[in-house]
């Protein structure tokens, strides 16, 4: 096994939003809003203390220590808690119950007394500067024999509108965080485990669905590589690819290290000011910059431009580090001349800094402060290249490659959220948490109990309409019909631009519980008030404003009028010898055939009437 030989070790962390009616620490709805709907904004500065900044060089630290100003959008659906202007409400019991249910399904052990913590987050995504989070259960099991280490209940962060502007609608939505042990050994295994956990979460029926409601972080390392955490993989299908590409990146970085060492490469030269060289440059970026510095990487030539991952080079990594100081990026001689920089300028640059052919020169442009900071960052990353793979937090790019975000955080800086009382999880409470059926077990049951085709059973079990399906079969509605309606028919109607949601509502506008209209129609089929083929038409009419009752009548009168007669004629015609032999006495046996054909969708008396007419017609012809 290729990946086993490379010593691949991976673990995942899944963040899933819960579909509770209120947020985790306030009574606001857990609803996302369009940014245009914001009804106000305010701004704050978050103060970083030195220890929060992690491992970054001094210049960069100074840069980040500057006051960081963040703007926040408020909505009529957010409150002072999101504004960090009011103490939190008690931990939402609905969210805790869902979290415990998930823990139970994963065979975990609950913590007897759950304590809410403040985890420092100073990127602006939390108005307070910390995220509230609580460890709820430990030690679960996975189908691959691996372990789930912990499940935590935390508040979702605010959504970034752009740059340092955040939207408060998402802040505080309950989130469960499931952390596995580093128990996976291949990209496919990571994908399988992520899919399995996703299935477990959806089995509760109480998690949010749709893009952005579930995010996976993947921890990956290979032998001689380093632990790298890739944040925010939203598409499940991409997880295996992300792992493959990270393994490749680490392998290539190790190969670069090997060659750098062979060449005796070093990063010892101080950055040099080369601003004057580019005073008439064709490069707009260099022209505009008040300061341009060059970092000479001895022995790096050719390797900085080498691809380490689809669309990424070692130069991209240097650039990511430099960008932390506010510069737009870097130029390096492995990719020059280009971008308006001429061959003459490159030669002049090499001459000026005394670079040999084996050296790579990196250019950083911007204002003095930024440039000095960025040079240090470039040097730092180049030094890492001599060591191999740096431990990092990275973010996923489109397609599955990744870019550098920040150093791997040390132990999270946490302290107690004193405004939230600890919540006891008594053994009685834990016992009462229902164990829900896993979706894969449910699919198997649907196949077994209701005779659904395996693919349909799976589709139904994983569908967001699974509760409606369950209700339909409990009402005695044909499982096949219910599944077809809830999967295919609704999809077709939606595709035609119709809003199917009102058909599924189990409460009327006043909030009074009602039988969802789609089930009323399916019951109509069961009671033979309307043919099953007519269901799409009936639903269409209801969406267009008719009541279920009148829609069924309307469809029935047309269908049962014309089509029933045609059906009766064809049944009689196909059995003419029998009809001729029995005469009108053929009615009884033919009724059975006819009723089977309409599958009980039409009233028996009506069938008998129509059939009788067709019989006399046929016998008359004779």
């Amino acid at each position: 096994m290729e990946y086993e030989r490379l010593g691949l070790v991976a673990g995942i962390e899944i963040h899933q939003q819960l579909n509770t009616s209120e947020k985790l620490f306030c009574r606001c709805p857990t609803e996302l809003r369009p940014f245009e709907a914001h009804n106000g904004e305010f701004f704050r500065y978050l103060r970083a203390t030195e220890s929060e900044l992690g491992e970054i060089d001094r210049a960069a630290r100074e840069e980040m220590k500057n006051l960081r100003k963040f703007r926040y959008y408020t909505y009529d659906s957010t409150c002072l808690v999101e504004n960090d202007e009011e103490p939190p409400a008690p931990l939402n019991p609905e969210a805790l119950a869902i979290c415990l249910q998930i823990a139970k399904m994963c065979g975990m052990t609950p913590i007897p007394q759950v304590h809410t913590m403040r985890k420092l987050v100073i990127d602006g995504s939390n108005t307070s500067g910390f995220q509230r989070t609580a460890l709820v259960a430990v030690n679960g099991t996975l189908p691959n024999g691996g372990a789930i280490e912990t499940i935590c209940l935390e508040e979702e962060a605010a959504q970034r509108v752009k740059d340092e502007v955040f939207s408060l609608d998402r802040l505080g939505i309950p989130l469960v965080e499931i952390t596995t042990s580093p128990c996976m050994r291949s990209p496919e295994e990571v994908q399988e485990i992520a899919e399995y956990l996703g299935m477990v979460l959806r089995s509760t029926g109480k998690v949010k669905r749709g893009l952005g409601t579930i995010r996976q972080d993947v921890n990956i390392s290979i032998r001689e590589g380093a632990r790298v955490e890739i944040k925010g993989v939203q598409e499940l299908d991409l997880i295996a690819e992300v792992v493959r590409r990270e393994v490749q990146r680490q392998q290539r970085l190790l190969s670069i290290r090997q060659r750098l060492r062979e060449r005796g490469a070093s990063v010892s030269r101080a950055p040099q000011d080369v601003t004057a060289l580019f005073s008439h440059s064709g490069s707009k970026i260099l022209m505009k910059a008040s300061r341009i510095m060059a970092v000479t990487l001895a022995g790096f030539a050719g390797l900085v431009g080498e691809e380490i991952q689809a669309g990424r080079r070692l130069g991209s990594e240097l650039s990511d580090y430099a960008k932390k100081c506010g510069v737009g990026g870097i130029f390096h001689t492995d990719e020059l001349p280009a971008y308006g920089v001429t061959a003459e300028e490159v030669s002049a640059l090499r001459a000026e800094v005394g670079a040999a052919d084996a050296d790579c020169v990196v250019l950083v442009a911007g204002d003095t402060r930024q440039v000095e900071c960025a040079c240090q960052q470039v040097i730092l990353r180049a030094e890492h290249a001599l060591e191999g793979v740096p431990e990092e937090t990275r973010k996923m790019l489109e397609g599955g490659s990744t870019s550098y975000m920040r150093p791997l955080p040390g132990a999270a800086r946490m302290y107690p959220e004193t405004d939230v009382l600890p919540v006891p999880v008594t053994s009685e409470f834990w016992e009462e948490i229902p164990r829900v059926e896993l979706l894969n077990a449910k699919a198997e049951r649907f196949r077994r109990e209701h005779g659904l085709d395996a693919a349909v059973a799976r589709q139904m079990a994983y569908s967001e309409h699974v509760m409606l399906f369950q209700r339909a079969v409990d009402l005695g509605i044909s499982a096949t019909l219910a599944a077809r309606t809830l999967i295919a028919t609704l999809k077709e109607l939606s595709r035609d631009g119709l809003d199917v949601r009102p058909l599924l509502a189990d409460r009327d506008r006043e909030g009074v519980p009602v039988l969802p209209e789609v089930l009323q129609v399916l019951l109509g089929v069961k009671d033979a008030r309307v043919g099953k083929e007519a269901v799409p038409d009936v639903l269409r009419r209801i969406i267009q404003g008719e009541s279920p009752e009148s829609a069924m009548q309307a469809v029935e009168s047309t269908a049962a009028g014309a089509d029933l007669e045609a059906l009766a004629r064809s049944i009689v015609r196909e059995r003419m010898p029998f009809v001729r032999e029995k005469g009108m006495e053929a009615l009884g046996p033919l009724m059975g055939v006819m009723m089977k054909e309409v599958r009980g969708a039409v009233d028996g008396r009506k069938v008998s009437q129509v059939l009788k007419a067709a019989l006399s017609e046929a016998l008359g012809e004779k």
Binding site: F42, F43, R44, Y45, L46, R47, A48, T49, S51, E52, L67, K69, L80, N83, D84, E85, E86, P87, T109, P110, I111, P112, Q113, V114, H115, M117, R118, K119, L120, I122, T127, S128, G129, F130, T133, A134, L135, V138, N139, T150, C152, A411, A412, R413, M414, Y415, P416, T418, P422, P424
Partner: protein, 411 residues
């Protein structure tokens, strides 16, 4: 288990799982452990056993060297926290009172002034008493006499307005005496403590010559408002901009982060008087909040007090049924002052019958004074003026900006 100490490394069984962590404390009968991940969990104390007791870690502290060319400010702390430190090992948050600690927590302060600190009390502001106000006034007076360019008083926000009013009456100050606190705890990166502290220090080295409260002006971190100690009130339980000047414009603003101080015309300037202290207070005073249907018996609890401020309804009313009891209070020698629950606007007991009855009963109209300020003023007036007629008159005079003769439009 009973002999576990904070910081001990312990082993604990939860369900079938063995967990290791650091023992922090005991809470609601449960042992609180901190896991390596940073999370705290509560477990049954009987399930924990000691692994080892690591030697205590001494926090490193370095003295901060202050710039001798800058003016000297004094920070007198009573319990409000303007700086705190978090020990992420134990999760403990400790308030910082020492100048070096404060400057380490809020480095920007060192560009504004030098500081000396005086820790008077560490109490919650709801536990303040008139005698602590007196002690505070003496401490601030000493600091002014001792050459402080300005004095910053850190104070819990709940009763900060009372203390500010009390010092306003007790002190004649030629330098700024600035009350400051934080509405959101100082441990959080978003706390208002840093901005409030920087703005208050900027005011304290500035041109003001009176007692003021300096706190956030809006929910954003854009500016602090400077409020007169006798006209300020906490108007929200939790917002940063809870403190507001009532019935007057603030004394000024401090822009942030520029720290540019703008004072309104009419503020008392630095050096307008010699420092003086009149620290006598009559503590036997009370504040009565009228409500409809209130029994006259309630007033018996106020009998024997030297002064009572009533927060009446509207223009300054109580129900007709209370008037005989109030008349009796006055006749017994209690000075009764009427203010309004409306907070905004002036008391006028000459418009309706009940008002006229109150005046006839001997109640003093408290003009547009805030009820709490009127109470503090009453304590001060009764503590310093033995003549009851003169005391009555003083309650209707403007002593420290607590009272305005004209109600202005737009404030």
């Amino acid at each position: 288990m009973s002999d576990l100490r904070s910081g001990d490394l312990v082993r604990c069984f939860v369900g079938g799982s063995e967990l290791k962590g650091t023992y922090i404390t005991s809470r609601d009968g449960m042992a609180v452990l901190k896991m390596d991940s940073g999370y705290n969990i509560g477990v049954f104390p009987g399930d924990c056993t000691l692994i080892e007791r690591p030697p205590p870690v001494k926090p490193e502290r370095e003295e901060v060297i202050q710039d001798p060319s800058l003016p000297m400010l004094s920070i007198v702390s009573t319990g409000g926290t303007i700086a705190s430190r978090i020990d992420y090992r134990t999760g403990a948050v400790t308030s910082q009172f020492d100048a070096s600690d404060i400057l380490r927590a809020i480095p920007g302060l060192s560009a504004i002034a030098r500081y000396r600190t005086r820790k008077l009390y560490t109490i919650l502001s709801e536990n303040m008493t008139p005698s602590i106000w007196q002690e505070l006034a003496r401490a601030v007076y000493d600091e002014i006499k001792g050459g402080a360019r300005g004095v910053i008083v850190t104070h819990g926000t709940d009763t900060m307005a009372y203390s500010a009013a009390a010092l306003s009456f007790m002190l004649d100050t030629p330098v700024p005496v600035v009350f400051v606190g934080s509405q959101r705890s100082a441990d959080r990166p978003s706390s208002d403590n840093v901005m409030n502290a920087l703005c208050s220090a900027s005011v304290a080295v500035g041109d003001l010559g009176e007692v003021a409260v300096v706190m956030h002006g809006t929910t954003s971190d854009d500016r602090c408002a400077i409020h007169r100690g006798t006209r300020v009130r906490k108007m929200h339980t939790s917002r940063r901009d809870a403190f507001q000047s009532i019935g007057v414009s603030p004394l000024g603003y401090v822009d942030y982060p520029s720290l540019k101080v703008t004072l309104s015309p009419g503020t008392r300037g630095r050096g307008a008087c010699e420092p003086a202290i009149h620290d006598r207070l009559e503590p036997a005073c009370g504040l009565l909040y009228f409500s409809p249907g209130m029994s006259p018996d309630m007033l018996s609890a106020y009998s024997g007090l030297k002064g009572v401020v009533i927060a009446g309804s509207g223009l300054g009313h109580v129900s007709t049924s209370l008037i005989p009891a109030i008349r009796e209070l006055v006749n017994e020698g209690t000075l009764v002052v009427m203010t309004s629950q409306c907070l905004h606007g002036r008391v006028c007991d000459r418009v309706y019958d009940t008002g006229r009855d109150l005046i006839r009963a001997g109640v003093v109209e408290g003009e547009d004074m805030l009820p709490e300020t009127a109470l503090v003023k009453l304590m001060w007036v009764l503590g310093n003026e033995p003549d009851s007629q003169r005391a009555r008159r003083m309650m209707q005079e403007n002593l420290k900006g607590e009272y305005t003769r004209r109600s202005l439009h737009g404030v």
